[in-house]
Amino acid sequence: MEEQTLTQPVKSESAETEASAHMEQPDARATSDPLAVMGDFVDPNEVTDAARAIHAAGYTDFDIYTPYPVHGLEKAMGMKKTILPFFSLGGALFGLGNAIFLQWWTGTLHYPLNIGGKPFFSPWFGMPVMFELTVLLCALTTAVVMFGLLCKLPQWHNPFQKDAGFRRAVDDTFVVVIEAKDQRFTVDSATNLLEKLGASNVRLVNV
């Protein structure tokens, strides 16, 4: 039960060997085309400042991978507010409309049944089902749109995952990734920027 060195921030030169031991064998087709430059942070204040600086430097294809949501980081990165609530509202209205239509159409048009002289349709007895279907469709829409559309999941293969340092982003490290597909990207400029901002273990990850 002794404590592992895992709890220390990444400083390893053995990142590459660890990666190949953990994952499959290095891909024979691997080229030396750059994929991204990565750097690690452990302090939430420093990484927020870094996000602001990278955004100010004009990069757009960069991201910061964190083990938990760091408040204000998305603003520092220059992200717009998420449009998810509009989808949720749409889902809620769809559920509400369905509930009204279902109860009204089945009760009054398709098969009207007189039960105890109660009205065939009324918003009052229809209220519970209307509420429940509104909530149900809103929740399902929110989850599906958030994961599927906005986060673009599921993603079964992620090229960054071959980097051992990157894999620790869901454990204890804030990993800043500047991707090669960014128009401003050059290996030197991205590396220099991350080093200047105080990132540790700044590294180039190839395709």
């Binding site: 964190t66 980081l73 007895f125 089902v129 993603q155």
Partner: protein, 457 residues
Amino acid sequence: MNGVKSESVREPLILGNPSLGDVSDKIAGIIESPPTKKFWALVTITSIIALQGLCSVAYTVWVGPGVWGVNNPVGWGWAITNFVWWIGIGHAGTLISAILFLFRQKWRTAINRSAEAMTIFAVMCAGLFPLLHTGRQWIAAYWLLPYPNQMQMWTNFRSPLEWDVFAVSTYFTVSLVFWYTGLVPDFATMRNRIKNVLGRNLFSFFSLGWTGSTRNWAHYEMAYLILAGLSTPLVLSVHSIVSFDFAVSVIPGWHTTIFPPYFVAGAIFSGFAMVMTLLIIARWVLNLHDFITLKHLDNMNKIMLATGMMVGYAYAMEFFIAAYSENPYEQYVFLNRAFGDYAWAYWSMVSCNVLVPQIFWFKKLRRSIPAMFVASLLINVGMWFERFVIIATSLHNDFIPGSWDYYSPSWVEVSIYVGTMGIFLTLFLLFAKFVPMLAISEVKGVMPGAQPKHDHH
């Protein structure tokens, strides 16, 4: 633990000052370590309990609900009692995960995951009872669900029992979605560290390829907020609608407007008692004292005290309204409740639900594990009796004295009820062993120094 403390020196939520990696190690360690003999022994016992219940379920389906003790005036017996009890237990999970989230009660992070799991398993157990109670379960589909069928018949939307179908199924689905959404980042943590190949594949699959990208977290946090915002009115609606099963009828003792709030308060009360029972066992078995601290348990005891008093108020108010209404049937039902054939059940209920939680006025008892463990068990018993009293006393002496009868369950009903506890505990044990039992990413987010200081801007 001495009296006066300034607000800024709050008791820490996590003891031992662990690093981020320690949190992953501790929680993932439960899953990574091989199952112990103790674990298998417990699962075997609970599975046997579940299995005997399922045998009785099969017997009921084969022969029909005539094998139960339900009779002509008391048509609802144990089955509906158990249904309401289990549904109520689920409510604490949603309260902790959604309502306390909206109120920014950070202490919830250590207990929300297991409370949500409990909700889902409790609703599964609850759903069994009304389904069995329909008698012919294989044709219940067209009574319960509005789907196009050859008879061209639809469900009766004017019935509160039909509202229940929608309320309970929505509650189950939304709770599951909320639970799974919370689990995705933790599955990603597990995926990247577990050595077992099957485990890694399963966690890869369920993590959906989550990476912890801030561009994803921003959407994720909004989704979590919306789901919490939806679950909050949902949880209030579910037990309100369950109470409509009674309140919309014209039976004395049921036909009261106090039922929805009274049922919701009782649900939260019983749910917290069940969370307490399970957490005390879990923190002892899995050695989680640093994460589930006395502060968490103390807070939960305070909520139990508050909701217990609300329930006690409702008991008193029912009597007052019965007297004030001058309705002789209403008055008779309540006198019969307290002094009739089921007086033993009524006074068990009052002692367990109103008197027992009073011990939580004292900080010493709020922080005493044995005291709160016994209290939580008694409250679970008391809340079961509450539903039993409501159902049995209102039905057994109905409008015509010639049809009055006494109801007691048959062995089949007892066996099914005990069986659902086996199902619940088996599922909970498997959850605690194979799924991150504490919300890893949420715990990390509330640790000291985890969030940036915004004062330099």
